[in-house]
């Protein structure tokens, strides 16, 4: 995005050496000056207002005993009663811990995988190979979770392709689709297949912005493949890595819904219950909208705090973060 010029234009004929006087413009002047930019921003602002800020304002029902059958302001305020109920719910803490577990694993094992895939892609010279490789790892991102889980059942299920192949070889059936102890690995496998390619694309874009002459100069100076990666590639994409890391941390309590809901019956609720499924089963399905909203608000507040803390740490480490430090 281009920086917006906010100082007054230089006055012609001003004596050389005389200090420039920056006159603060009034709101009206700025509106007249910037109206095209404001006009261009209007659709995005309207979209945000209608689909984000207006719905967000309904978070207030987390503090009400809300019923859809009462006029809105007839719903009594109940303070933090829903939050008290949330924190005392025996299924909330396990759901929170599962969420944190899956988030941490995602961050530790999927995030680096996307970077690794991008680096591999970046090093491939053949356009044809790149194209095939990119399609293979990128296309699953567009599959729905229903399809992903169904494909996994058909391939890795106890009556799936691999099981029947193993049986043919005299082995046993695979049992990883309905075994709670293997669900974490299974979840990682599904993320890796579905999402790693998408993460890779973003890092590839960052890699493309690195000046090729840096590599050429380093090669001339005798830097090998690893040194070039360590001293040019990684520093070149570091701002993007930090940016995505911060956004990931902000979303640490959001690990998705469908993947866990769809496999809940197979491995049990204790293994798959995450905050989003908790909100669905305890809030939406039970029509306890205030309770569900309280859980959602808790998630949002924690996410906001995490994102601000992570951004602050990034700034302290000299990184740009999600916005520049002034």
């Amino acid at each position: 995005m281009a920086a917006i010029e906010t100082s007054a234009p230089p006055v012609k004929g001003r004596a050389a050496g005389r200090p420039t006087v920056r006159r603060k413009r009034t709101v009206g002047q700025r509106l007249r000056h910037d109206w095209p930019l404001l006009l261009m921003s209007a659709p995005a602002l309207a979209q945000l207002a209608v689909f984000f800020y207006w719905p967000s304002s309904w978070n207030i029902i987390a503090f009400m005993d809300y019923s859809a059958y009462r006029p809105f302001w007839d719903n009594p305020f109940v303070g933090f009663a829903w939050f008290e109920r949330l924190f005392s719910d025996p299924y909330f803490v396990p759901a929170l811990l599962n969420t944190l577990k899956f988030s941490a694993l995602n961050l530790m094992f999927l995030f680096p995988l996307s970077i690794a895939l991008a680096l591999i892609m970046h090093s491939v010279v053949s356009t044809k190979v790149r194209s095939v490789f990119q399609s293979i790892v990128y296309l699953p991102y567009f599959f729905s979770w229903v399809l992903v889980v169904t494909i996994f059942v058909q391939v890795l299920g106890a009556d799936g392709l691999v099981s029947n192949w193993l049986l043919g070889l005299g082995g046993d059936r695979l049992d990883i689709m309905s075994d709670p102890s293997t669900f974490t690995f299974l979840a990682w496998l599904q993320w890796a297949w579905k999402d790693a390619g998408w993460g890779m694309i973003i890092f590839l874009a960052a890699l493309a912005s690195i000046n090729p002459s840096l590599y050429e100069a380093a090669a001339v100076d005798g830097a090998g493949r690893w040194k070039r990666m360590w001293h040019i590639t990684i520093p070149g994409i570091r701002p993007v890595i930090v940016l995505l890391l911060i956004l990931h941390i902000g979303n640490i309590l959001t690990v998705g819904f469908e993947q866990y809901q769809l496999q809940r019956a197979a491995v049990g609720y204790q293994t798959t219950e995450v905050l989003d499924t908790f909100v669905y089963y305890r809030g939406i399905q039970d029509a306890a909208y205030s309770f569900g909203t309280a859980a959602g608000l808790f998630k949002g507040v924690i996410g906001l705090i995490l994102i601000l803390v992570a951004n602050n740490v990034a700034h302290r480490l000299g990184e740009q973060g999600i916005y520049q430090k002034s």
Partner: protein
């Protein structure tokens, strides 16, 4: 990203500040406001008898009498012949267009099919567009549609679906049209078939606007069929049984023996798929809502020793590889597996019997199926679950005008046509030549189009109850069903809440859902049988004990104490 200018409110510190103020604002508002306790659904006990505002019952003279005379309600009569159909009702005149949400299992037929056009013409012109929603998720998703008033002009719901609603009584009285003033008294002139529906059916369509005040009872739905007898079962592929030289099991122990003898995981053959909602009867456990009166008090299924026996049985079946190993994933097509012979015994609704038979007759399936009878465990007297109430209701949107409701009732009246009428034939079989042809014995045989469009569950066939329900269809199947019902009727489970519709408290429903999840954990080897006492204790403390009080009051009311 551009550097924010000095005046930007989104500077780093400002952002922290803004977030803090926002949080304080949100948090402060309720602190300043008055606090009160949270209200949650405390459950209801709705009487379904003894009202003076129901439609006056006027017997509708049936055009034909059944060939097989049973002992309704649990042993309905049946027809093994097909009569020349007669006109059942005079067509009304209607010009309105309405949308009705209905559950649908399988692929929904196109609204352009001649079946729908023929029906529209036959009942007088009213156009009904069906919003066909997935039957598998209908119960859960309908909770949201109803709260948001997004179900069109009417919705068709089966009774068991209402269990998914945390407080269905509240939903009914706030969402649906109060039909009382339209249908009370003598309605036989305009709606003779609705007037011919059993009074008990209409009684079960009553909810009180104030659950604590019986005087506020009103009619909110048009009842579906009141057909008793078994509503589901474990269906066995009798041809596969015979081929393996095995006999239909008559005890739970024999079920296990047959399952062990037939299952061969390496060959892709398993005895069972699901075992959750029918097999409790084999152990003498109560059907929904799961309470029995034992030794002077109400006892929930999970508190009984038979509950542990039942879970031990399920666990044995799982551990010994008698259940399809992908069953817990919930992604399998049970019908397809049963037809393919992958599964020997399939848990299903009673309609699967007729569906399978029809598919066998039209060549899309082979062999035949029969349900296991009333069987017991360890020499105990068996029980058989039977339908206790009307199948469900069609509810109208409260925002409709009276004239619109009356026009829709004209359509409901048409849909109540009994066996032997032209209306019944059109509803059940469609248009002759397109959806069915007459067989050599004069009985309609569905064409492929008839099977996919008309037989497809569920459309107008379940919109409104028939004045009397019979066993109909393939004569051989009718005979088998008739004999089956005769063999199990004496074991029909007694309804201890007869005359009442009892809805448990919301917390009890939530606790029950958790118990169901835990049952699956034990049944599929994810938890040990030793976990059962803890499961029960958790359930009772999370809502079960409070529910005992609620259900005990209902029991005393039902028993007239």
């Amino acid at each position: 990203m551009a550097t924010p200018s000095d005046g930007s409110i989104f500077r780093r510190r400002s952002l922290f500040k803004a977030a803090g103020i926002g949080a304080a604002g949100i948090a402060g508002l309720p602190v300043m406001a008055a606090c009160s306790d949270i209200e949650s659904g405390s459950g209801t006990s709705q009487s379904t008898e003894g009202f003076d505002f129901l439609p006056e019952y006027k017997e509708y003279e049936l055009p034909v009498q059944p060939d097989l005379v049973g002992e309704p309600p649990n042993h309905p009569s049946g027809f093994t012949t097909y009569p020349e159909p007669v006109d059942g009702v005079e067509a009304a005149e209607g010009a309105g267009e309405y949308e009705i949400t209905v559950p649908m299992w399988g692929t929904p037929p196109s609204g352009d099919d001649p079946y729908f056009a023929a029906l529209q013409e036959a009942w007088g012109g009213t156009k009904i567009n069906l919003r066909q929603a997935d039957g598998n998720t209908f119960a859960d998703t309908s909770v949201q549609w109803l709260q948001a008033n997004e179900f069109g002009d009417a919705i068709n719901m089966f009774g068991w679906m209402t269990d998914a609603h945390p407080n269905f009584q509240e939903t009914v009285v706030n969402t649906f049209y109060d039909l009382t003033d339209i249908v009370k008294g003598d309605i036989s002139e305009r709606w003779p078939l609705l007037a011919g529906e059993p009074t008990a059916s209409w009684g079960q369509s009553v909810w009180s606007t104030d659950p604590t005040d019986p005087e506020t009872a009103r009619i909110f739905g048009v009842p579906q069929n009141y057909s008793s007898g078994p509503g589901n079962g474990i269906f066995v592929r009798t041809d596969l049984l015979e081929a393996a030289n095995l006999a239909m099991p008559t005890t739970v122990e024999e079920v296990l023996e047959v399952a062990r003898a037939w299952s061969d995981g390496d060959a892709g053959k398993w005895a069972f798929l699901g075992l959750d909602y029918v097999t409790p009867e084999w152990f003498g456990l109560a059907s929904s809502p799961g309470w029995s009166f034992i030794d002077g008090k109400l006892v929930h299924n999970c508190e009984r020793p038979e509950y542990t026996e039942w879970l031990e049985f399920r666990r044995t079946c799982w551990d010994e590889g008698l259940i399809h190993p992908d069953t817990p994933t919930g992604t399998l097509d049970g019908h397809a597996l049963h037809i393919a012979g992958t599964i020997l015994m399939s848990q299903d609704g009673i309609s699967w019997w007729a569906d399978y038979t029809n598919q066998a007759l039209t060549g899309t399936a082979t062999g035949s199926i029969d349900p296991i009878g009333a069987i017991g465990f360890n020499g105990r007297e068996p029980i058989r679950y039977v339908n206790k109430t009307v199948g469900g209701w069609t509810f109208f949107n409260k925002d409709l005008e009276k004239e619109q409701v009356e026009e829709l009732l004209d359509v409901m009246n048409f849909c109540s046509a009994p066996y032997g009428t032209k209306e019944y034939e059109l509803l059940q079989y469609g248009v002759e030549g397109t959806h069915f042809t007459y067989g050599d014995d004069g009985i309609p045989v569905r064409t492929e189009s008839g099977t996919t469009v008309v037989q497809a569950p569920v459309n107008f066939k379940e919109m409104s109850g028939q004045v009397q329900v019979f066993l109909t269809g393939d004569p051989d199947l009718v005979q088998r069903r008739f004999e089956y019902n005769a063999s199990v009727k004496d074991f029909a489970e007694t309804d201890i809440f007869a005359g009442l519709r009892v809805e448990g408290p919301a917390e009890y429903k939530t606790a029950a859902q958790t118990l169901l999840d835990q049952q699956d954990d034990v049944s599929y080897g994810r938890a040990e049988l030793s976990a059962i006492p803890d499961m029960v204790e958790t359930f009772m403390s999370a809502g079960g004990e409070a529910a005992r009080e609620h259900f005990t009051k209902a029991y005393e009311q039902a028993q007239g104490n």
